[in-house]
């Protein structure tokens, strides 16, 4: 899932300056799980904006809605009727969701209410850890299911480094050494032999080297004719 955090309300207020009709739009997917942009956070943010306006002695009309997913056009279509008289949308989705909304409704300014951080998972309630760097060339089969790129502070492919102490990282003593985790995982799996394999320098071509990545899954891509027939046009 995508992990995000709410921006400072002072900054959000600045982005909304001069606008009196605001739609706060949340997303029930990843950002709801990390308590940044779900229904509750939408309600709290909207109420905070109303309170600020009241404190300033001005009128603001804040409406709220939460989509199932802001990153898929099929769901974002639901936003249309809610946008009619809105001057600005404060998107409490990840950066992907905010962009999809802006793309679908180019006449209305969409501003981000969250800082999108990483791809991770909840460790426990309220604590989220980055797990995947999205490098496009996965090596989890060699590392006992633990990503050295995302979870090693130095992204070392052949670790550990000399700074690994008692299973902790020298960069931050609260961070587990990814290579210590990898060793113990491989030990449990009876595959310590994999540590003898030298992982060669990474191929970064599938990463960001070619600009925004575009993944195509041919079995599910619709042809032009199929698109037309699904949409019902001749």
């Amino acid at each position: 899932m995508i992990i995000a955090e709410r921006k400072d309300l002072g900054l959000i207020s600045k982005m909304l300056e001069g606008r009196s009709k605001v739609l706060v739009a949340g997303c029930r997917s990843c950002v709801a799980i990390c308590h940044a942009g779900g229904e509750k956070e939408v309600a709290a943010t909207a109420e905070a904006l109303r309170l600020r306006a009241a404190a300033e002695g001005r009128h603001i009309d804040v409406t709220e809605m939460t989509l199932e997913r802001q990153c898929e056009k099929e769901w974002v279509q639901e936003m249309g009727p809610h946008l009619q008289d809105r001057e600005i949308v404060l998107s409490l989705a990840c950066g992907v969701g905010a962009q999809v909304v802006q793309e679908m409704y180019p006449a209305t300014l969409v501003v981000p209410g969250l800082n999108t951080s990483n791809m991770g998972a909840p460790e426990e309630q309220g604590i989220y850890l980055e797990k995947c760097a999205g490098c496009g060339d996965c090596v989890l089969h060699l590392t006992g299911g633990i990503c050295p790129l995302a979870r090693c502070s130095k992204s070392m492919l052949n670790g550990p480094c000399g700074g690994s102490q008692n299973g902790k990282c020298e960069v931050n003593p609260d961070t587990a050494c990814a290579w210590d985790l990898i060793f113990h995982s491989l030990q449990r799996l009876g595959r310590l032999d994999l540590l003898e394999e030298n992982i060669p320098p990474k191929n970064w071509l599938p990463s960001r080297s070619g600009g925004p990545r575009r993944i195509v899954r041919p079995p599910v891509v619709q042809g032009e004719e199929e698109k037309r027939s699904r949409e019902g046009s001749p």
């Binding site: 309300l9 002072g10 509750k40 309600a43 109420e47 905070a48 309170l51």
Partner: protein
């Protein structure tokens, strides 16, 4: 006489501390919103109370470990912290929201807390921007 508005968001169990016999008159300017459990009290309710005229908000929950739903008061405490953080970010004084843990027989503690919060409410007055540290 003070005209400060104090809203008490209160769990049903701790409510007894506010009105032990159920019909005592509340101190002037104090309104009580009773909830089944303090775990239901969220930052939206606290901020809305301030927006609609309250000068301060008191969240009243059971003593730690005494919640009949086990952890409702812990939820409430986290949400009070969150509401205070939101107030700071907005440029408002975070002391406007405060949490109190009361057993049902602690009426005197409640009256004492109301006295303190009234002093604060009088000092702060109605909400206005830039009264906090920011």
């Amino acid at each position: 006489m003070s005209t400060s508005e104090i809203t008490c968001l209160c769990c049903r169990s701790a409510r007894t501390a506010l009105q032990p016999n159920g019909d005592e008159e509340l101190p002037e300017g104090v309104s009580v919103v009773e909830m089944p459990c303090s775990g239901r009290i969220d930052e939206v309710m606290m901020l809305r109370a301030l927006r609609t005229g309250s000068h301060v908000v008191m969240v009243i929950a059971c003593l730690d470990g005494n919640c009949k739903n086990r952890t409702g008061n812990y939820h409430a405490r986290r949400r009070v912290d969150e509401a205070r953080s939101l107030l700071s970010q907005l440029g408002l004084d975070p002391r406007r929201v405060a949490m109190f843990s009361l057993a049902s027989n602690q009426s005197s503690c409640w009256l004492e807390a109301v006295k303190d919060m009234r002093e604060l409410a009088d000092a702060l007055g109605p909400i206005k921007l830039m009264e906090g540290d920011r």
